[in-house]
């Protein structure tokens, strides 16, 4: 089933970590195999923030295997060495969990493709997100469990999207959890509720164009699809509109960039979405109850129609 939620504050910052946690926790009945956050925090914009993992948290049906912490340590050393070779300077380093790391990197580049390819060429290493503002945090368990584990409740920023997952198309692990980073674009993330039926056809086409897939989760296709469109000059909104015909199946998805948040709904409107929109806040989720966690007072909400695409700026 899965549940998705997102919010964007316009003209101000707020405690988006705590707000999104409340929204996703309200949707936990839609799935709590894993939960993921894409938070756009307030930063000085100088350094890249790289969230990456050097191992897996393995759940039911996962094709991954649990490994010893010493393996993680070894991979981390190789990552550090590779960064040094590329001239990237690690300004700040946090290791929340043995397999999950957060680096602030001083690195002067606009094209992250080569950078990402080199890091991810290290076996067992996956970049969860890369950006000046974006941080993707995802792990097994419900929203509160993940929030507590990674201390996300104090994150202040402008917007965020998240996902409560009931695993159906692939196993329970971090690599299959949402959100997905819009590799190789800085600060692009995607969450999705639904099933894509032309996943393999699209994947083959995109892989031939040099795009990378880290999981076998159909939702990853949306991130890669949009990223590929943007790579060829399309705006976020244009890419999303093209996806309505390029992707087959039933879906509602959100895409976020450094300064915007968008939603798209398939032409059959088979997946739910409730939307609240005001001058200073847009909040949306699979169910009204998610929005109520941040706006308990009586408000006007609505369901976007079939084939609808909307994008908001901060």
């Amino acid at each position: 089933m899965c549940g998705i939620a997102g919010l964007i504050h316009r003209g101000k910052s707020s405690n988006v970590g705590s707000e999104l946690q409340g929204m996703l926790q309200a949707l936990k009945h839609r799935g709590e195999d894993s939960t993921g956050y894409a938070l756009y925090g307030d930063t000085d914009g100088k350094n890249f923030i790289m969230r990456f993992k050097v191992g897996e948290n393995v759940g039911e049906g996962s094709s991954s295997v649990m490994e010893d912490v010493s393996v993680y340590d070894e991979r981390k050393k190789i990552v550090d060495q590779t960064l040094s070779e590329m001239g990237a300077k690690v300004v700040k380093e946090e290791r929340t969990l043995p397999y999950s790391l957060r680096y602030e990197i001083d690195y002067d580049t606009k094209d992250l493709l080569d950078f990402s390819q080199r890091i991810e060429s290290i076996p067992g290493v996956e970049i969860l997100s890369m950006g000046k503002s974006l941080e993707v945090i995802k792990d097994l368990g419900n929203a509160k469990m993940v929030c507590d584990r990674y201390s996300l409740d104090k994150v202040v920023g402008t917007h965020a999207i998240g996902h409560a997952r009931m695993a159906t198309e692939s196993g329970v692990d971090i690599k299959s959890a949402h959100p997905f980073w819009g590799y190789p674009f800085s600060d692009v993330s995607v969450v999705h509720n639904g099933q894509l039926t032309n996943y393999w056809n699209n994947r083959r086409v995109l892989e031939n164009k040099g795009m990378r897939f880290m999981s076998e989760c159909d939702s990853e296709l949306i991130a890669v699809y949009i990223a590929e469109k943007m790579r060829h000059g399309a705006s976020l909104e244009e890419g999303m509109k093209e996806s309505l015909t390029g992707l087959d199946g039933v879906f509602t998805y959100f895409v976020a960039t450094k300064d915007s948040l968008g939603m798209a709904k398939d032409t059959m409107a088979a997946k739910p979405l409730v939307l609240y929109e005001s001058d200073d806040l847009v909040a949306m989720g699979s169910e009204e109850i998610a929005i109520r966690s941040v706006l308990p007072q009586e408000i006007d909400t609505y369901d976007p129609f079939d084939g609808e695409v909307k994008v908001w700026q901060i």
């Binding site: 032409t267 059959m268 409107a269 088979a270 739910p272 409730v274 169910e287 009204e288 109850i289 929005i291 109520r292 308990p296 009586e298 408000i299 006007d300 909400t301 609505y302 369901d303 129609f305 079939d306 084939g307």
Partner: protein
């Protein structure tokens, strides 16, 4: 079987299995008398007084707890119940088979007022997916917007949304009336079998797709017609009925119903074939 030409009227009826005597003993069979309609209740329902009013704050209750408390209040004779702080909870007000005046001061989540028979409900907010699914009788009024599958499979009653509704409104409906003040999404009236849908605004793609029967009236633009949905002539009696229905629904009172489009089933789909499935198989 007895010879029906020679037996008396009473024994003929008995021979044909038609009862003329009042059944006693263990039988549960009841004979309906219109004069006693007021005395008929579902098992486990209550005789309530509309003038006996109370409020119920469900903010800290789960949906089952709230529904159980509504039932408890009805058992005490309360005929008007105001629900405070529904907060988008799912499945509130389901399965009420009682006459009741129920008012929600806020929005409902999924499956609100499902499988009801008889209550008059006003929701001063929005509703999520599948509101009033399987409604059999009564009236449900939503002051704001509604989600998808609004009025799915209703058998009777009036279901009114003053705002806009999502996709598949009236899917599989078998009777009753759905009235929408705003726009409606894709696949409205999908596989509807009886009943009427009135949409004052625009409607999305595939309107009335695979409808068996029933009627859809649209005041605005139509995205596209579904399979076997066709235009029909809007008669003067249709217009009279529309005016009366909109007035009762307190919606679109000044709406010009003469310009509405009327959509019905073309009855060209396979299910209108005279052949039984086994015959069809043989013919193929």
């Amino acid at each position: 079987m007895a010879n029906l030409k020679t037996v008396s009227k009473k024994s003929k009826a008995q021979s044909m299995g038609m009862h003329t005597e009042v059944l006693t003993g263990r039988t549960q069979q009841k004979f309906f008398n219109p004069d006693e309609a007021e005395n008929f209740y579902y098992f486990g329902t209550y005789d309530v007084d509309f003038n006996k009013r109370t409020e119920l704050d469900v903010k800290d209750m789960t949906a089952p707890e709230a529904n159980k408390e509504i039932d408890n209040l009805m058992s005490q004779g309360y005929g008007t119940i105001v629900i405070k702080n529904p907060q988008g909870k799912h499945s509130l007000g389901v399965g009420i088979l009682n006459k009741l005046n129920l008012i929600f001061e806020g929005s409902l989540g999924y499956f609100g007022m499902g499988s009801c028979d008889g209550p008059i409900v006003r929701i001063n907010g929005r509703v999520g997916w599948s509101c009033a699914e399987n409604l059999m009788a009564g009236k449900v009024v939503i002051e704001k917007n509604a989600g998808s599958c609004f009025g799915a499979a209703i058998r009777g009653g009036d279901l009114i949304c003053k705002g806009s509704v999502g996709a598949r409104t009236g899917i599989d409906m078998k009777g009753g009336t759905i009235i929408i003040g705003g726009d409606a999404g894709a696949f409205t009236g999908f596989m509807m079998q009886r009943g009427r849908i009135i949409i004052l605004g625009d409607v999305g793609i595939n309107l009335g797709d695979s409808m068996y029967d029933g009627t859809i009236f649209v005041g605005g633009e139509i995205g596209s017609y579904g399979s076997d949905a066709v235009d029909s002539e809007l008669t003067s009696s249709d217009q009279d009925w529309l005016k009366r229905k909109l007035k009762v629904a307190e919606i679109g009172e000044n709406f010009d119903v003469s310009k509405m489009k009327k959509i019905v089933a073309g009855k060209k789909l396979w299910n209108y074939d005279n052949l039984e499935p086994t015959e069809k198989k043989g013919a193929i």
